[in-house]
Symmetry: D3
Subunit: 137 residues, 6 copies
Amino acid sequence: MPTVRYVEYNDASPEVRAIYDEIMFVRTLDFVPNFYKALASHPATLRRFWENLKTVIASRRIDPLMQELIAIAVCSVTNCSYCIASHMKAARTLGMDDEMLGELLSIVSVFSDTSRLAAGYQMELDPQFAEANLNHV
Amino acid sequence: MPTVRYVEYNDASPEVRAIYDEIMFVRTLDFVPNFYKALASHPATLRRFWENLKTVIASRRIDPLMQELIAIAVCSVTNCSYCIASHMKAARTLGMDDEMLGELLSIVSVFSDTSRLAAGYQMELDPQFAEANLNHV
Amino acid sequence: MPTVRYVEYNDASPEVRAIYDEIMFVRTLDFVPNFYKALASHPATLRRFWENLKTVIASRRIDPLMQELIAIAVCSVTNCSYCIASHMKAARTLGMDDEMLGELLSIVSVFSDTSRLAAGYQMELDPQFAEANLNHV
Amino acid sequence: MPTVRYVEYNDASPEVRAIYDEIMFVRTLDFVPNFYKALASHPATLRRFWENLKTVIASRRIDPLMQELIAIAVCSVTNCSYCIASHMKAARTLGMDDEMLGELLSIVSVFSDTSRLAAGYQMELDPQFAEANLNHV
Amino acid sequence: MPTVRYVEYNDASPEVRAIYDEIMFVRTLDFVPNFYKALASHPATLRRFWENLKTVIASRRIDPLMQELIAIAVCSVTNCSYCIASHMKAARTLGMDDEMLGELLSIVSVFSDTSRLAAGYQMELDPQFAEANLNHV
Amino acid sequence: MPTVRYVEYNDASPEVRAIYDEIMFVRTLDFVPNFYKALASHPATLRRFWENLKTVIASRRIDPLMQELIAIAVCSVTNCSYCIASHMKAARTLGMDDEMLGELLSIVSVFSDTSRLAAGYQMELDPQFAEANLNHV
């Protein structure tokens, strides 16, 4: 159950409605997802989030499908059901099949595993890795 | 400071040494990282982890650079310094420049942001997203 | 579905019932929330938690509304639905409106964003910040 | 060790330098923190983050000290050392003393405790809490 | 709602079916849990996970009940409902009663509390602890 | 660098000193760890934490070594270096060897892995698990 009332399209202020229109156009949706209808309870937050998302969408070196895979990776760690369902739909539309999803979740799992082992054993950073990062240019 | 003694190459059992050799060959390293030298304090864990990593490396649909970007994304959320330094080196070697890194960390940040907003507002999943996932095949 | 049976008021031991009475009085509730009815499956845990909560409630420098906002912030990061719903109710009762909630969740999001960027870029602490903390008295 | 080279003020582009100037003015600092010098390796990320932060700073219902306390709460859960040191300095400047900090960290601890207990016992949301959130307006 | 179609026993390939059989035998279940039926959408992930789990089950120094308690501890922090329900069933079968569960969740809570306090106060490691770990052999 | 000044034994109030004495006695230490010297900057927090810890120590069904293993598991997920070093020392003193530590961290890793897979695939809880938990008594 949401913790605010959704702002429906017909009840929205002109400013919010303009953002809704842009969201549906850019993300090729024919409805306003509940996520945005909840954010609209505080228009500054809706605007802030949407500006952020547009910056991400404008990425030139990481293509749209890969953006969605990274989003699924992040949300599998933060454990956000809504986000996962939403990014899965986008990734499926962009061509993700079960094999790609399986590989993705294995990568997430194994590197999440690495984090636990590194925490438990508290390994020190090898100087070779540190130098590599400083001198990569 | 590590919580176990590192198992140095010269002190390792033949079984551990064989895994060390394979790690250096597959990852084209001329040293054994501390990460593996700590895991070797419990050879079954070293073997388990390395088998897992080889499964990931064998991914066919997600290329090596993208694997490293996803690894950086995951470890930025789990906040593992060792892992980040190690994956950064690998990603740099595979061609990641500052622009790609900047785009990656923005994607991570914005979708981590989504998770917080979704938690705080507890939005319900839109039936359109749910259906899409069930019917994607 | 809970992982223990709730201890209902009428089935509770006198010790548990006394804590239930105190909870309802201090938090001005006319029912015992499921949270406490589950904790009561191990009375020592119920007692421990309630003693902790009373310490927090006794805060003198952070007022009750602000305590609830901080609770919502923490639970948005730990992603605890039950906690969020419960603290939302308390915060609403104390006067939180949608604008305050929107500002709160933006603060949570932006500083969660900071954490990801700081992890990904591994910035070193500026000596000016370190000194300030040591010398603040 | 950072994973990019810091962009020093004297080496920065006019666009980045303008943001640096604004940061130092708004946050009353006489230096550019490493955090921003790393973000500047990808100017779009620096600009995005700074725009976000200005939105937060413009909060009207949550005062600057309380913003910093919430930031410390969030970063204590995400475990970001850089962020904690930076927000501590800001909070100290705004008047946070050891008593306020102690109360804050107790609130964070106790409600982080709640999250673990709610996860372990999987309590169901009481209908009284759910209704309260829907009907609060 | 799952993000892939479950692979039912009757629709599974011989390889997947053999793993299903082994899972039911080793874990003494008379059904294939949804967890494995979802993993089977990518057989390499099912195989990888199951090999990992068998390694854990083969632990000699940490008995089966204690393994389940540790699993519940981990999943209470990662906040995974499915995992908690599944490990609770296993732990109950192995003899965990409400007292043991209450003690377990208190341990999880108090040491999760420690983590928040250590983050907020950024205590430095006492040399006595560091030395002890290095010299324990 | 700590964010408060440590309260040294000789500078402590009689109330704080009494708690320090009890800590050293109960945990058989000949020094006051920095953790407690930082908490003492807010005596109510020191007292609250120590009361919590004594409740845990009084566990009857989970022995001291197992308590430390669970603590290491939790702190490997929350990624708290100080906590890990401190619990490692205690566990080593109680008899944990490298094999037990290796098994422990594998359990933590594999069940942290489970959490990621369950998040990514969003499996539904099997009714058999749910019923088992309700009917265990």
